[in-house]
C-alpha cells in the first residue's frame, strides 16, 4: 500500500472515529475549513508548479478577497435591510464572491505584469530564491498598504445568510458554512474540469511539466503564465470572500491561510495541484482535532511538528511531485 493511499484512508477513518466520539460538528468544520484551504492551496501549488514561484504573498490575495467582500457586501446588506423583497437577498453573496474573484484575478494580472514579468526579463539564475524574496517584499507592501488605506480595524460582516441553521441528522450547520462549502466545492470542481479537459488547462499542465517542451509545441508561454497567476490569485480571493463571516478583514488576516496553504503544499508535494486538494482536508482535520482535543492555540504547534515528522521520512511529500524545476534549485 502506498503512502498516499494509506494517508487518505487513515484520514477518513480518523475523521469518522472522532466524529463518532465528539459529534458531527467536527466533520462539518473539517469539511468547510478543508474546502476553503483547498482553494488557497491549489492556487499556491499552481504558482509553484507553473511559474516556479514559492509565493509568500498568497495570503495577501486572500486578504484582498476579504476586503472586496466587505466593501461589496456591506452596501448590499444595508440595501437589503430596507428592501427585503429584493433579489439581492439571495443573490447578494454570490455577487460578492464573483466580485472578489474578478478583483483577485485583476490583482494577479497586475502582479504578474508589474513584478514577476520584470524579474523574468532580467534574471534566470537563482530564480526560485529571488522570486521568493520578492514575494516576501510584496507581502509586506500589501499588508501595510491595507493598513495605510483602509486602517487596521476589523472589517467584518455578521453573516451572508440569516435564518435558522440546517439540521442534518442532529448536526446544526449554519447557512454561511453551508454556503462556503458549496462555493468551495463548485469552484474546485470547475477548476478540476478546466485543468483536465480543456485545451488551456492542458497547456498549463504542459508548462508545469516542461517549459521548453511546451514552447516547442507552440504554447504561448507569457499568456499561460499570466493566466495561471490571475487564476491562482482569484482562487485565493474567493476563499477570502467566502470565509468573510469567520475572518473579518484586517491587514494580516492572510497569514493564517498562508501558513495552512504552505503546510498543505509541502505535505502534498510541491506543485501537485490535485494532491493539494486531498491534503487540505488532512491538514484541516489535523487542525480541527488539535483544537478539539488539545485546545485552541496549539493548532500551529501540533500540525507543524507532525508535518515535519512526515517530511523527515518522505521529503518529496505524500503525493510526490512531478515538477522538477522547484526541486532542482
Amino acid at each position: 500500500m502506498t503512502l498516499a493511499r494509506f494517508s487518505v484512508i487513515a484520514t477518513i477513518v480518523i475523521a469518522i472515529v472522532s466524529t463518532l466520539d465528539r459529534g458531527g460538528y467536527l466533520l462539518v468544520n473539517t469539511v468547510v475549513m478543508g474546502g476553503m484551504t483547498a482553494l488557497v492551496a491549489m492556487g499556491l501549488a499552481l504558482t509553484l508548479g507553473v511559474l516556479n514561484i514559492p509565493m509568500f504573498a498568497h495570503g495577501e490575495f486572500f486578504m484582498i478577497g476579504t476586503l472586496v467582500g466587505y466593501y461589496v457586501f456591506t452596501p448590499i446588506s444595508t440595501y437589503v435591510s430596507t428592501h427585503p423583497e429584493s433579489f439581492l437577498i439571495s443573490w447578494g453573496p454570490l455577487i460578492t464572491i464573483a466580485a472578489a474573484m474578478l478583483i483577485g484575478a485583476l490583482a494577479g494580472v497586475v502582479t504578474e505584469l508589474l513584478i514577476f514579468r520584470q524579474l523574468r526579463k532580467r534574471s534566470r539564475e537563482n530564480w526560485v530564491m529571488n522570486a521568493f524574496l520578492l514575494t516576501v517584499g510584496l507581502s509586506v507592501v500589501l499588508i501595510n498598504a491595507h493598513q495605510l488605506f483602509f486602517s487596521a480595524d476589523f472589517k467584518g460582516i455578521v453573516g451572508y445568510y440569516s435564518g435558522a441553521p440546517f439540521n442534518i441528522m442532529d448536526v446544526y450547520i449554519s447557512r454561511d458554512r453551508g454556503f462556503a462549502f458549496v462555493v468551495a466545492a463548485v469552484v474546485v470542481a470547475c477548476f478540476w474540469y478546466f485543468m483536465t479537459y480543456t485545451r488551456t488547462g492542458r497547456a498549463i499542465r504542459a508548462v508545469s511539466q516542461d517549459e521548453t517542451g511546451a514552447l516547442m509545441v507552440g504554447i504561448g508561454l507569457n499568456g499561460i503564465l499570466l493566466l495561471t497567476m490571475s487564476l491562482s490569485c482569484a482562487l485565493a480571493a474567493v476563499a477570502g470572500a467566502g470565509l468573510l463571516f469567520m475572518y473579518p478583514s484586517y491587514p494580516s488576516v492572510g497569514l493564517e491561510p498562508l501558513y495552512m496553504a504552505w503546510f498543505v503544499v509541502i505535505l502534498a508535494g510541491l506543485g501537485n495541484v490535485l494532491g493539494a486538494v486531498m491534503c487540505s482536508f488532512m491538514v484541516a482535520l489535523l487542525k480541527v482535532l488539535t483544537i478539539e482535543y488539545i485546545g485552541s492555540g496549539w493548532d500551529f504547534v501540533v500540525p507543524s511538528i507532525l508535518i515535519i515528522l512526515i517530511l523527515i521520512f518522505k521529503p518529496s511529500g505524500i503525493f510526490g511531485s512531478e515538477v522538477r524545476g522547484v526541486l532542482d534549485k
Binding site: 514559492p54 507592501v141 501595510n144
Partner: protein
C-alpha cells in the same frame, strides 16, 4: 587569495587579521564615537543605534547561512527568541547571571540549529526554508502556550543587564558583539570550511563529488549561525527587559532577511553596512509621517522588491563593481586594504 603580496606593515597585518579594510575600520570608529556627538547623544537616537546594530548583527549571522550555503533559515528569529527565553528563564528561575545566560542561550539555540540542520539535511532551497519556517512557527506557538514557563503573550519580565538608565553601555556591548561576530564569521569563511560552504551553496552534487561531506559542513554552518542568534537573543532579553512571543514572529525574520539581502548576499559586511542607514531611514519616515501608519513598511517592501528585480546582488555587489576599483592608489588602499583581497 594566492596572488596577494606579502604584507610588511604591522598595521596592515593587524587589519588583515581582523578582516577589516581601512574604510571598514574607519566606519567602525565612526560608530564608536557616534553616541558622543551632539545629535546622536540623545537617548532615543541611541535606542535607534542599538536596534540598528542589533539588526546588523543578526543580518551578519543570517547571511552566514543564507549567503554562503544558500539556505534561507526562515525561522531565524524564532531561534533567536529561543535563546532569549532560555537566558531569561534561567535568570529569573535560577538566578543565573545574564552573562552566563547569554552563553546558555547561545548553546541551546545552537543545539536547536543542529536539529534543524539535521532535519533539512536532505532538502534543498525552498524546501529547507519551509521546514525551518514551520519549526519557527512551532517554537512561537510553544512560547505562546507554555504560559507557566514564558507567561505567554503577557510578557516575561527580565532584569536588565546593566544597572543604569542610560543605554550607552548596551550600545558599546552590542557593538563589540557585532564586531566579534563579524570577525568570527569572516575567519570561518577564510578557512577551508568557507570554501566548502561556498561550494555546497553553489552546487551540492559537484561539491559532494569533489569530496566535501555536506552533512558536516551544513550542520556546522547551522549550529554556528543559530548559536550567534541565541547569544543575540540573550542580549535582546536583557536589554528590553520584557519578552513577548511576538519577537519570534515571521515578520521579524523578514526584517532581518530584507536587510541581509539588500546589503548583499554572501558578503557578510553588506547587511551590517546597510542596517544603520536603513533603520535610521525607516525610523525617520515613521516618526515624521506618523499620520500614515505603515508607510515605512510599504517603502521597505518596495525597496526589497526593487532590489530583487534590478540588482539581486544588493549593495555589496554594487560597491564591489563600481566603487571598489578607483584609479588612485591611496583610495584603493583605503577601500581594499593592503592585501587586495576582497574582504
Amino acid at each position: 587569495m594566492n596572488n596577494t603580496t606579502p604584507i610588511a606593515n604591522p598595521f596592515d597585518k593587524f587589519l588583515n587579521l581582523l578582516c577589516f579594510t581601512p574604510l571598514g575600520l574607519f566606519s567602525l570608529g565612526v560608530l564608536v564615537v557616534l553616541p558622543l556627538i551632539p545629535p546622536f547623544n540623545q537617548e532615543y537616537l541611541i535606542r535607534w543605534l542599538i536596534s540598528a546594530a542589533f539588526i546588523a548583527s543578526l543580518a551578519i549571522a543570517f547571511d552566514f547561512t543564507a549567503g554562503l550555503i544558500n539556505i534561507v533559515n526562515f525561522g531565524y528569529c524564532a531561534i533567536m527568541g529561543l535563546g532569549a527565553y532560555t537566558s531569561a528563564v534561567l535568570a529569573e528561575r535560577f538566578g543565573l547571571t545574564p552573562w552566563l545566560g547569554m552563553v546558555a542561550g547561545g548553546l541551546v539555540a545552537g543545539g536547536m540549529g543542529m536539529i534543524i540542520g539535521m532535519i533539512t539535511l536532505r532538502l534543498r532551497g525552498i524546501f529547507a526554508a519551509c521546514l525551518a519556517w514551520f519549526f519557527g512557527l512551532a517554537l512561537m506557538g510553544l512560547a505562546i502556550k507554555l504560559v507557566w514557563l514564558t507567561r505567554g503573550p503577557m510578557g516575561l519580565r527580565v532584569d536588565r543587564l546593566f544597572d543604569t538608565q542610560s543605554n550607552v553601555p548596551y550600545y558599546y556591548l552590542l557593538l563589540a558583539m557585532m564586531t566579534a561576530i563579524y570577525i568570527m564569521c569572516k575567519w570561518v569563511t577564510r578557512t577551508r570550511m568557507g570554501v566548502a560552504f561556498k561550494a555546497i551553496g553553489q552546487n551540492m552534487e559537484a561539491a559532494r563529488t569533489s569530496g566535501i561531506n555536506p552533512v558536516f559542513y551544513r550542520l556546522a554552518n547551522f549550529v554556528l549561525s543559530c548559536a550567534i542568534g541565541g547569544v543575540l537573543g540573550g542580549f535582546y532579553a536583557h536589554y528590553y527587559g520584557i519578552l513577548t512571543p511576538d519577537m519570534m514572529h515571521t515578520s521579524k525574520t523578514v526584517e532581518v532577511l530584507a536587510v541581509a539581502y539588500i546589503g548583499g548576499r554572501g558578503s557578510l559586511w553588506g547587511g551590517a553596512a546597510i542596517a544603520f542607514p536603513f533603520i535610521f531611514g525607516m525610523e525617520l519616515v515613521r516618526s515624521s509621517l506618523s499620520n500614515l501608519p505603515g508607510i515605512n513598511l510599504v517603502l521597505y517592501g518596495l525597496l526589497l522588491i526593487l532590489v530583487m528585480i534590478y540588482y539581486p546582488g544588493g549593495f555589496a555587489q554594487f560597491f564591489d563593481t563600481y566603487i571598489r576599483k578607483p584609479k588612485s592608489r591611496i583610495l584603493n588602499y583605503v577601500l581594499n586594504g593592503a592585501s587586495q583581497s576582497a574582504n
